[in-house]
Subunit: 192 residues, 2 copies
């Protein structure tokens, strides 16, 4: 970890593992996200690519020098880190207090929101989302077992909240309904 990186394309996950193998995902690295710590050397978490991944790497020393030279870089980095901290805190609410069904609904709506923010495409017909994670990865994300993930997805499908096309593609007929299931404040985050 002698370098700092920036994700250009693909998805990686930050995970933490206990001695007996229990695993918790603690971050999801998407294009434009930043990895590494200017100022510290050791990485406390495992970084795993879940898809093909292209990153832009800087060596640490020159990067730190650049940070000292141009204050805007440090400021921008601070802003990004604060955003990550906010995201981590929402995630903590999910992990600590939400039911399995709410966790699944939250995950799908989070992915839908990010997708919408990224593509900005007009939605014709129902919103559709690709899940970039396996069931097991979703389980690690949500603090569940993969069986529970699968069961809750099936339940949401049975109740008409979502429709499945294959295993990885989800159709959302009514986004408000999904957000309601997620237990978030209504119209959470101007997705509509």
């Amino acid at each position: 970890m002698s370098s700092v990186r920036n994700v250009l394309s693909g998805i990686a996950s930050l995970t933490q593992t206990m001695e007996d193998g229990r695993r918790q995902m603690v971050g999801l690295l998407l294009p434009s996200d930043f990895v590494g710590r200017p100022g510290r050397s050791a990485a406390a978490f495992d970084v795993t690519a879940t898809t093909d991944l292209v990153m832009c790497c800087f060596r640490k020393k020159p990067f730190e020098e650049m940070m000292s030279a141009t204050p805007h870089v440090a400021q921008r980095l601070l802003e990004m880190t604060l955003d990550e901290l906010d995201a981590a805190r929402e995630w903590m609410l999910l992990l600590g207090r939400k039911t399995a069904r709410e966790k699944i609904a939250s995950l799908i709506s989070i992915i839908a929101r990010r997708d919408a923010a990224l593509h900005l495409r007009k939605r014709t017909g129902p919103l559709s989302v690709d899940l970039p994670l396996t069931r097991e990865e979703m389980a690690d994300y949500l603090g569940l077992t993969l069986e529970t993930v699968s069961r809750q997805i099936s339940a949401l499908k049975k109740d008409g909240v979502i429709t499945l096309e294959g295993n990885r593609h989800v159709l959302i007929p009514d986004i408000d309904r999904l957000l309601e299931e997620a237990g978030d404040d209504s119209d959470g985050g101007m997705l509509v």
Copy 2:
């Protein structure tokens, strides 16, 4: 939230609440901790003092100007925020994967560690720690109910992992035993 603050003394908590009242603590503000977001206006979380509190407040505009002027401030702030992010991620592992007993043991050892780092006093006899939180606040911290918190504390007491003096004061005869119960990697964080 038109200002930025620094905790001087006392303890405050950052909490997030769902519509139906479920509550999760997402941050614990201790002396030297920083509150507020240079760059953003709305606070997404509730800040509550859990003890008498003294904070040092800056108005936002001058503070941001100072940040632009002196790069070291922004850099230091970035470092602190990255530390908070690391803490949040450890917390996520706790919330998502640890058992109730492990959560309690983790909380006590976290408080013990912070206390040791703060006071740097020689420990004569068993390590002793004051819990700055009520059972309910501990429950909100750990994603449990207050009944479960109470039960697990009683269980740890019964098993000799800790001793209670009153409700808020804990004696730790064997810190390694406690860390083992917490499920953390052995000798986690040079507390010994």
